[in-house]
Symmetry: C2
């Protein structure tokens, strides 16, 4: 994807959604030696997410990948994504409200596991697709959290294995993410965002709404097939 070459390994935490796929493209563009990390935590859309992860790994020709089972997140529960009894809302959360799709400290756990893997494979960077503004309102996507977690990670491991948590999309609007990714050639058709987890994107859940809005605002054709194309606001 790039002629640049970097000798350091960089882990990309890749759900298979549009944000993490764009973060992957940013890392690839910087010439990082890539290692891809995916989590299966019993989320409603786990099969579609993993399909997207595999397709992106293939497209970016990355051999080094790890899929981590985190069934315990389903046991811990507390989220509409892991507990079928809590419905996924049709509407976007109100400003400042933490929505029921928030999975308790999921990103903290993911970063902790990424940090462990980074130490063993010698990765110097962990790329994430975290978005703070124009996003889902999750506390574990905020810059203040990422900075604190990076500090904790570096104090709790071998001193020589210092790692940087990179969040290149943190302050971008969704439309800016799509523009950046399009410039970098992200195959958005291979990515999957829908919280519900059907074959097609539902078009109505908050993740689908953010996805649609991103392409509309960016004035870039949306390659996604929605089962409810008119559903988004």
């Amino acid at each position: 994807m790039s002629n640049k070459q970097n000798s350091d390994i960089a882990i990309v935490v890749l759900s298979g959604g549009m944000d993490s796929a764009t973060a992957l493209a940013v890392a690839a563009d910087k010439g990082e030696r890539l290692a891809l990390l995916h989590f299966d935590y019993g989320q409603r859309n786990r099969l579609q997410e993993q399909r997207a992860f595999d397709a992106l790994a293939k497209r970016y020709d990355v051999e080094k990948k790890l899929v981590v089972p985190m069934d315990f997140l389903k046991i811990i529960g507390g989220s509409a994504l892991t507990d079928e009894k809590i419905p996924v809302p049709d509407e976007m959360p109100k400003n400042g409200e933490i929505p029921p799709t928030y999975v308790p400290f999921r990103n903290g756990i993911m970063l902790a596991i990424a940090a462990a893997w980074a130490e063993v494979i010698g990765a110097k960077k962990i790329y994430t697709g975290f978005v703070e503004e124009d996003s889902s309102g999750y506390p574990d996507c905020r810059e203040i959290f990422v900075g604190a977690m990076e500090k904790a990670v570096n104090l709790g491991r071998r001193p020589e294995s210092e790692v940087e948590i990179v969040a290149p999309l943190l302050h971008l609007r969704k439309s800016e993410i799509v523009k950046l990714g399009t410039k970098l050639g992200v195959p958005y058709k291979l990515t999957y965002s829908c919280y519900i987890g059907g074959e097609k994107h539902c078009g109505k859940c908050p993740a689908c709404r953010l996805r649609k809005k991103a392409f509309i605002e960016a004035q870039i054709p949306d390659p996604t097939v929605y089962s409810n194309p008119a559903g988004a606001g």
Copy 2:
């Protein structure tokens, strides 16, 4: 174990070793409503640790317990405890050296998962048996790490679910831990420390050496059955 009663739930991260069992006794003595958390990460002594965990839960009459499978730590590897190809040393690590039994960022991952569970069950405290001095030389047992992790945990979750990471043994010597635990009635006979994972404690690995030393220095009879009683230095 105590007449005091506290309305808050406190999670105790309980490996089943002597330190975490003592932390459990401290929490029980404070009258906390207890919830016990154990991790099965494919460690050599997983069966013995889990037996100790179950026995302690029964002895302290705690119903709320969670055993989290973390097989991925075995896949990530990088430690003598999870990778059978890396031998467990017979000797204590040199001062300042991180020994091969260190499991990359294990305590960070455990605390992250504990924080997720704390958020869902409304726990206000997470007790750990971390020991900084007179211990195994792990970076993720240090006070500076615990403080940084507590900060990250509280920035990455719902603001109303503030949690404190309690490490009551952090600055105690092993002998002081045994004295404290004995005063609190810890059934050390039920605890298990050996890295090797046999029915009896091996008496030679660093964890057994620390265990023996603790009782000897505390001048308290050691209830442990060692297969190599003369092995320790």
